[in-house]
Amino acid sequence: MKSSVIIFPGSNCDRDMDVALKKFGFKNKMVWHNDNVIPKSDLVVLPGGFSYGDYLRCGSIAAKSNIINSVIEFANKGGLVIGICNGFQILIETGLVTGALLRNKYLKFICKNIFVKANKTQNKYFNKIKKDILELHIAHNDGNYFCSQDDLNSMQDNDQIAVRYCDSNGEISENSNPNGSIQNIAGVFNKKKNILGMMPHPERVIDNCLSSNDGSYFFENLLSNMK
């Protein structure tokens, strides 16, 4: 399986994602934001970081970069696209997924492990993961997910909420909501569920020597669905 990770000025999780994808068997290529064409890929990843220094709004400038048109084209043809953290913010700014990411409710940059419950129905990202609660990592200042009530209703009807923050027992509550996101939303799909945007970083937790190994389930599951 071939993947491409797009590098923007200020991306800083691009290498981690490269290591993770290769560890689980992807043939990964790094793609510069100024390029116009994505190499032949089965998966495109917009990595975390601080593209363009988070100027204007996080992800807004990257969403207008040269490579984005071919990412949109790839996504519209049904290609798998993942945006992690700043990548999620970029997806939001391109309009490929619904909503907005506001400043964290308590105005703090949050960098810690959190627990999430993933939506396993009819998507290639989480469907066969055996674990119900995943321990992943977040590191962001603007991860407070927001959308209108109408959009929320329509996303719920289409089962587009991908990941929600919970505690270690799987309880989804205000106490397990690190950043004020509505409905504890940590990630969403587009309607067709080929695009996933989420704040947690699976690529940071892919080995037992790290603080968690739960990111491995994510990559293993994704790859198993692509073979």
Binding site: L56, R57, S60, K64, E93, G99, A100, L102, R103, N104, K105, Y106, L107, N144, F146, C147, S148, G180
Partner: protein
């Protein structure tokens, strides 16, 4: 010609920075302050000569880049 734009968070959208500023003002004895909404201000220098054309162009900029209409409103001054 210079066109000025203000972008503010929509009503009902949480504005944690505005809230923090309000609380700080309150703690500084500006006890009358019940709400602060923080926005952005742009001054856009354009080569267009006609004000109507220029404002129309800036409106397009607001929709495409300067504001995120999910969470923000814009006002061309």
């Amino acid at each position: 010609m210079k066109i000025k734009v203000i972008v503010t968070p929509k009503n009902g959208v949480l504005d944690p920075q505005g809230k923090a500023i309000q609380q700080t003002l309150n703690s500084m004895n500006f006890i009358d302050v019940s709400e602060v909404r923080q926005g952005k201000y742009f001054e856009i220098e354009t080569d267009l000569k006609d004000e109507k054309d220029a404002k129309k162009n800036v409106e397009d900029m607001c929709k495409k880049l300067l504001a995120n209409l999910v969470i923000e409103d814009y006002k061309i001054l």
